[in-house]
């Protein structure tokens, strides 16, 4: 019941904030949003899952109620956690209160709606990461888009309509593709499944339950389903070349929305890739390892090159997400303990670091009202604390050791380099690793131009240090990044435990 309570409370909180007056909606939302975080810490402390939830492991906080029966398939309310989903739940509940705090300064209209939608989104995100029934999962998955659409479309920048619609249509079309792919898989499973529960489907596929369906052989069906789902999730991640909605959405989205978009929403894509493509259809993933690794490398290098070309601070951070998600894809496709585990760890690490970067850029923007690199210089002189944390965050993004990003990236690299299942693994890994040079290039130049040197910014007002409630979430995030960087096993231990069954799903012919 605890997961129901968590999700339910968040929905209620959303409703409550929606009804609250604008004047104190922000404070109320922050106060309420700390409850799910405390709840997720409680989950963490009582966490007792073993193995992977989809491959027959012991599921923590499992709760299952039959809901409806659809054509011989039970649809259930089925939620639970394992070592892959718990870190993402903690990440979500941790980021939301901080994102809400970061909204206090920039959001100055229709606050109760804004904060209500933020909490509504959180509730659905928690649903995505806990649901173990496909139907339930898909409802949450789609429902995340709605608040996001409004948050960008109402509180966004000048081109918010374009960005919101592009985001919505693009990711929805992708969802449709993914949905078709998955459903055809379930049809082909025929009588070997009695429900849409993900563990059952995973088991059925592993046991060879796929049958010829409408003249499509099981092997071909699995491959088609894999490709359809891969394409669908790739948009969400996003992976090159289906990434172009992301920079537009980020540039137009207000800071707190960007924080959640980069911090959590992108991880929906990688989480789903891991759960569906790489856990359910490991053979297909393995067969396509070379092209997928190539896409991963292209995402890393190409995303980083795009970031290098940007002049808008937020666009720089946005494109670097494309690059970072390329690492995650590489980690997934190599099917090793450190590869898959590192990819999952990197989801959390990137969530924290990109959240910090967007937040810090937002705090600077609150003061400058411009994000263009050429418009400002020497901001360190006026906002020393904010800039100090921004610099620390940027080094985190560059993969500075003892910060979370290094741990994630290093795990992926060390897991990928000698991976037996991926041909040319050392070459792919070494190429992807070159991203760590490019990321240093663009972040260091952007910082040098905007933060250092003699102060220059044309405003008719004085720029001073940011208010406490803007800086505090930055400091909290930075602390979390360092703690996870020094002690990655806080999460990595349980992640490994849940990742191992996925890895073992692939037999390697050396």
């Amino acid at each position: 019941m605890i997961l129901e309570a968590l999700i339910g409370f968040t929905f209620l909180a959303a409703l409550l904030v929606l009804l609250a007056p604008n004047a104190w909606a922000g404070r109320l939302a922050f106060a309420l949003s700390t409850v799910p975080f405390i709840g997720s810490l409680y989950l963490w402390s009582r966490f007792d899952a073993v193995g992977n939830a989809l491959t027959g492991g012991t599921i923590a906080f499992e709760s299952r109620y039959e809901w409806v029966e659809v054509g011989g398939r039970t649809v259930s309310w089925f939620v639970g956690l394992d070592g892959i989903s718990l870190p993402l739940v903690v990440l979500t509940t941790f980021l939301v209160p901080l994102a809400i705090l970061s909204a206090w300064t920039p959001v100055d209209s229709r606050q109760s709606q804004f904060y209500g939608l933020m909490l509504f989104m959180e509730a659905n995100l928690l649903g995505v990461f806990t649901a173990l029934d496909f139907f339930l999962w898909f409802v949450f998955w789609e429902a995340v888009l709605v608040p996001m659409y409004f948050l960008i479309g109402i509180w966004g920048g000048p081109r918010r309509k374009y960005a919101a619609i592009k985001f919505f249509v693009y990711t929805n079309a992708a969802s449709l593709l993914m949905f078709i792919g998955f459903m055809s898989l379930t049809f082909a499973l025929g009588d070997s499944i009695g429900s849409l529960a993900l563990p059952e489907i995973t088991q059925a596929i592993a046991d060879g339950g796929l049958e010829t369906w409408f003249g499509i052989s099981p092997g071909r069906m699995a491959m088609v389903a894999f490709l359809a789902m891969f394409a669908g999730f790739a948009v969400k991640v996003p992976i090159v070349p289906v990434h172009t909605w992301l920079p537009d959405a980020h540039v137009e989205a207000p800071t707190p929305v960007s924080v959640l978009l980069a911090g959590v929403l992108l991880k929906m894509g990688t989480y789903a890739l891991l759960r569906f493509n790489f856990t359910m259809l490991p053979e297909q993933a393995s067969a396509l390892a070379v092209p997928i690794a190539a896409i991963a490398v292209i995402s890393v290098v190409y995303g980083a090159m795009l970031a290098l070309a940007q002049k808008d601070l937020k666009r720089i951070v946005a494109y670097s997400s494309v690059s970072s998600m390329g690492y995650v894809l590489l980690g997934l496709v190599v099917f090793t303990e450190y590869g898959v585990g590192g990819a999952t760890f990197q989801m959390v690490a990137h969530g924290l670091i990109s959240g910090l970067m967007f937040m810090a850029v937002g705090v600077v923007y609150n003061a400058t009202h411009t994000r263009m690199v050429g418009d400002m210089a020497g901001m360190a002189d006026r906002m020393p604390v904010t800039v100090g944390i921004l610099v620390a965050g940027a080094f985190g993004y560059m993969g500075l050791p003892l910060m979370a990003g290094f741990a994630g990236e290093f795990f992926i690299f060390v897991g990928a380099f000698g991976a037996p299942s991926l041909p040319y693994a050392p070459v792919f890994t070494a190429l992807a690793m070159f991203g760590i040079v490019i990321v240093a290039g663009y972040l260091l130049s952007a910082m040098q131009k905007t933060l250092f040197g003699p102060f220059r910014l044309e405003t008719d007002y004085e720029i001073g240090p940011a208010p406490f409630h803007d800086v505090a979430p930055l400091a909290v995030l930075l602390a979390a990044i360092i703690v996870l960087g020094v002690a990655p096993d806080l999460f990595f231990e349980m992640i490994r435990d849940a990742a191992m069954p996925v890895v073992e799903g692939v037999s390697v012919d050396v």
């Binding site: 659809v70 054509g71 011989g72 398939r73 649809v75 139907f135 898909f138 409802v139 789609e142 888009l145 709605v146 659409y149 479309g153 309509k161 619609i165 919505f168 249509v169 693009y170 929805n172 459903m183 172009t244 090159m305 795009l306 290098l308 070309a309 940007q310 090793t336 303990e337 450190y338 360190a380 002189d381 080094f395 560059m398 500075l400 050791p401 003892l402 290093f410 795990f411 690299f413 060390v414 380099f417 000698g418 050392p426 890994t429 690793m433 760590i436 040079v437 240093a440 290039g441 260091l444 910082m447 040098q448 933060l451 250092f452 040197g453 003699p454 990655p488 096993d489 990595f492 191992m500």
Partner: protein
Amino acid sequence: MVDAFAYVPAVVLLPFFSFLVALGAGKYLPKGGAFGGIAATAGSFLLSLWIATAVAGGRAYNETLYTWAAGDQFELTFGALIDPLSALMLVIVTLVALLVHVFSLGYMNDEGETGLPRYYAGLGLFTASMLGFVVADNLLMAFMFFELVGLCSYLLIGFHFREPGPPSAAKKAFLVTRFGDYFFLVGVVAVFATFGTAAFAGEGSFPALAEAALAGSGDVWTPGGLELQTWLTVVGLLVLGGVVGKSAQFPLHTWLPDAMEGPTPVSALIHAATMVAAGVYLVARMYGFYALTPTTLAVIAFIGGFTALFAATMGVVKDELKQVLAYSTISQYGYMMLALGAGGYVAAVFHLTTHAFFKALLFLGAGSVIIAMHHNEDMWDMGGLKSRMPVTYYTFLAGSLALAGIFPFAGFWSKDEILYEALVHGLNEPLLLGGYVMGLLAVPVTAFYTFRMVFLTFHGEPRTDLAADPEPVRWNVKGPLTVLGSLAVVTGFINMVPVQKVLGLEGIDYLHRWLDNEWGGIEGLSSHHYADLGPYSSGYIAGGEVPTVLVGAAVSLGLALAGLGLAWRLYNVTSPTEHTAKLGGIKDVLYNNYYLDELQVWIAYRTEDIAGGADTFDQGIIDGVVNGVSSVSLLGGSRVRRIQTGLVTQYAAMLTLGLIALLVLLGVNGGWFL
């Protein structure tokens, strides 16, 4: 009895605490947190001495202290490895760091700098990172602290962030070394993939596994069926990338002269004991691995010899005091690389030690001059400071004599041993011999630029009013200078190999005996073992070992004296002139550092061009397709536009429709409607 080794973590953590204190409370503390830093480094220094005593007492330490990630595939850990090498390095680093802290009181506090808590926090973190690197017991931990050292150099080089120069130099330092570290990181990952461990010492360490595998016992992974020796060479060269970056070897040396933008005490720390030293130390630390691959050794030797000569030539024409010292650093680390490549493990460590002291001395001496000259660094504005600041002059002179390799100062002994090793091993190895010749040619050049610097700064008549009436410096400047000045004179005596060989006095080569585990150490990490592994055999000229020693020493000393003499003739006059016109066309090349900076800037711009092209492609083609598809989508262009007027209710409707479609699909499949 309390175990000294229990305090190894404290050596690292004390400066780290001073970082935290300075960062958190520095502005409330006297002197901006300087005393915390002094206390911490003094504590670390004393503990390091104690640890060195324990090693001298026949003991060593190799323990895993913290598990960072406990995977089945690899276990990633932090630990401490204390053997004669790391114990010696601990003493050097903590001593130099302590003196730099004290000196900073004079250079930063007395000069009224602002941002002192940030400064002392940076120094503390810098020292802590370097110490963590020194005690690292595996390659991953070494890499991690190596990177932190890079961060600290960024923070301290860019200390004066309100000016345009320092942030740019800081960026360059981090970026250029990051380029080298990329290869290092690939190397670390490759070591894990190959051996399953990155430990430096012990039975299961990667050098030991590599040795066993080469000997045919034991099996290690190689990619794509590559031959083992080839693969080990590749891995060695990959790790070397990081070394070339941090130790400022050609072609990644360009960051170092720019790094002079940092405060002078920071330069002393970077050049003598921390960042630049880290690269060479790393090769020494895993020398058991490098000794296995002759190709790597030859490459190291050749890069080293080339860099030694190459950097020295640029030092000849520089006008600013710190610039001359910067190029001398690059050149001197070239010598250490030459030594390592030539199988002269002890010689390299010896030069690392002597150089740490005399280069710290020269930088702090330069700092003292800079205080006196009110932060004017141009040597042509100086002159005649000899009588006006005698303590600085005589200590600086001692450091210069050591740098130039003049008998009996510290640098003579260590440089002579490097050249000797390169010569005797190089007689049968053409690449190595090339390194030796370049190293030898660099000797007179080094002596020349060093004494050009000394004469221009201290001799003759003051050329400006500033030089005629320099600002006096206090004890906090003179104290560190005196300590280092004495060390620059005496450090050479720890390893008088030529004297031993010529006079037949046994046992005065203390450093050799120290690094050969004669007092204590770890099996497999001794100079003796490395010599056994190495590919080199010795050849002699002039009919034997003793004549070779004598001829080698005489030639290098003679060349050094020649360089010194030339500098004396040209610059030790009342009013010296540039004389650079005599160099003709070479002068411009040297002034512009062989145009390598331009080359790197060119590469950076071309990369930006490619990025710009990628951006145009992304916006035009990839996103163009997306927008194109959406405008010719099912509903037709005009309707899409109507939707885009922002009637969000329509979207809610679309979403609902989607969900209904989903249910219908489910239903059809399940026979709901039948």
